[in-house]
């Protein structure tokens, strides 16, 4: 199973095994990683699962789709070039070792 690592705003590091096809948001929420709120449950409707993707993985993760792109304009924390909504990143073997930093403000 591919692994994904989360850095919380306070520096706490959590590494979890991912089921292929589950989103980076799903995996965090189900395992109780704090800081990812994800109120809408992954339908790209709330912008409360904002993460910054590690530079090394930016190309593999790809760019935000048009709806997500608009949602990212409304996030509570600063939008950066590496900003993504973690509900829209589906885990695959190619993303094994993915590292994301959870945005400090979500709501």
């Amino acid at each position: 199973m591919p692994k994904v690592t989360y850095f919380a705003p306070d520096g706490t590091e959590t590494t979890l095994e991912a089921r292929v096809g589950d989103s980076v948001m799903d995996i965090a929420v189900k395992n109780g990683v704090k800081g990812i709120v994800a109120e809408c449950g992954g339908s790209c409707s709330c912008a409360t699962c904002h993460v910054y993707v590690d530079e090394a993985f930016l190309d593999k993760v790809g760019e935000a789709g048009p709806l997500e792109d608009d949602m990212l304009d409304g996030t509570a924390s600063e939008r950066k070039a590496s900003s993504r909504l973690s509900c829209q990143i589906k885990m695959s073997d190619a993303l094994d070792g993915l590292t994301v930093t959870i945005a400090p403000e979500q709501v």
Binding site: D22, K30, G32, E39, S43, L67, D73
Partner: protein, 411 residues
């Protein structure tokens, strides 16, 4: 007895109370008891991605089983609480298996159940509703044998199921009792747009219709008869005509009830200060204006009100003022709503309906109160932010669709 909080109801709200209690450091016992044969899971995808085969039951889990173990939250599935009462020092709930669950404080997150048809034929096989995983599975089990499906009720769930069924090539008819779709939740412009959108995609929509009888053969539904005598052929009937709060236990406790729902204050407290209630089962003061009582059957309310309920159980005075928001995915259209538009006296339409990307802003006495947005995330997010911050978006400025709403906030 040591502190023991019992949460009756294993849905989104029940789970959220337990999680917040632990996040806030509650050290006593926390038990969630629910009658469904599953741990807490997400309901919204049932009529969307799950029905469409894009998500499985494991995807819908709200937390892993291990999470509850790690957080010392006892989850008891598949047991229905049949009675609850206070003793001299603590209360006891009893499940239908006879199990006794003692508590010092109680949270009622019992949710709602689908309103059922009362006409002749309502109990035929093939007449379904959409509330839980089992309901969605029942529909999926019949899916391949369905050519004609009649959806009774043109609200979110009905229209979501209609959109998925149409995508799979079924003949779909939506029968709605009101003169416009989703009439409780969105304004007329949005209703009319979705009527066109579904009709264009091949769904037949019958408005202002009354179902008088379901026809059947060998115990299975075959048709839906309307008051004008029309009989719509149906291999399956999906009933989505609203929900009924499950307040039976609250009634046993003598709690105040209104419209069948448990009356709570802005702290999610019931008329008994030892009992909180939240989610679909509660009727609450309007969270933004405090003016009048509202029922908010949504994930947002289940989550946010439950957080407040948990704080109340911990003896803290937190008030519930979250901005209500909702969403619905129908075909490739993303409908997002924030605020409550009821009673609006002015509206501003931004963008073009013909482009399938627009928003409708609702005003009361010159102040923004709500938005319906279709494929327009920017406007949805902007209005949600303005409402959260207590700011206004002047209607005259918003009328220029080229202006980004977030640049014109005022006090």
């Amino acid at each position: 007895m040591t502190e023991h909080i019992l949460i009756i109801g294993g849905g989104q709200a029940g789970m959220q109370i337990a999680v917040t209690l632990r996040e806030e450091g509650f050290a006593g016992t926390v038990t969630i008891v629910g009658e469904e044969n599953h741990g807490p899971y997400q309901r919204p995808p049932l009529s969307k991605a799950y029905l469409a085969g894009e998500a499985d039951a494991e995807t819908l889990e709200l937390r892993t089983p291990q999470f509850y173990v790690d957080n010392n939250i006892v989850v008891i599935p598949s047991e229905k609480v049949v009675s609850v009462a206070w003793g001299a020092e603590h209360g006891v709930a009893v499940t239908e298996t006879g199990r006794e669950l003692p508590f010092t404080q109680l949270a009622l997150a019992t949710g709602s159940s689908p309103k059922l048809l009362t006409c002749e034929g309502a109990d035929l096989e093939g007449v379904l509703s959409m509330r839980g995983l089992d309901d969605a599975d029942a529909l999926k089990a019949q899916w391949d044998s369905i050519s004609n499906i009649v959806v009774i009720g043109g609200g979110f769930i009905g229209l979501e199921v209609a959109a998925v069924a149409r995508k799979y090539g079924k003949n779909v008819t939506v029968v709605h009792s009101r003169d416009r779709l989703m009439s409780r939740a969105v304004g007329p412009v949005t209703s009319d747009y979705f009527l066109d959108a579904h009709t264009t995609r091949g769904v037949t929509v019958v408005l202002s219709a009354k179902v008088t009888k379901l026809h059947g053969t060998d115990g299975h539904v075959t048709g839906v008869e309307l008051a004008d005598g029309t009989v719509l052929p149906a291999d399956a009937v999906m009933v989505g005509i609203g929900v009924v709060p499950r307040s039976e236990l609250a009634q046993q406790l003598g709690l105040e009830i209104q419209n069948g729902a448990i009356v709570v204050d802005e702290h999610a407290r019931t008329s008994d200060p030892r009992v909180v209630a939240c989610g679909d089962v509660a009727i609450l003061p309007h969270p933004l204006t405090g003016d009048g009582m509202v029922m908010l059957e949504s994930v947002q309310n289940a989550v946010d009100q439950s957080k407040v309920a948990a704080q109340t159980l911990l003896g803290r005075e937190v008030e519930y003022h979250a901005v209500p928001w909702f969403w619905s995915d129908q075909a490739e259209l993303k409908l997002q709503m924030a605020g409550l538009s009821q009673g609006f006296d002015q509206q501003v339409i931004r963008g073009n309906l013909a482009d399938d990307k627009f928003s409708v802003l609702y005003y009361r006495e010159g102040r923004i109160v709500a938005v319906d947005a279709v494929n327009d995330v920017s406007d949805y997010m902007a209005v949600r932010r303005a409402l959260t911050a207590g700011q206004n978006i002047p209607a005259d400025l918003a009328a220029d669709s080229s202006v980004a709403l977030k640049t014109i906030f005022t006090d």
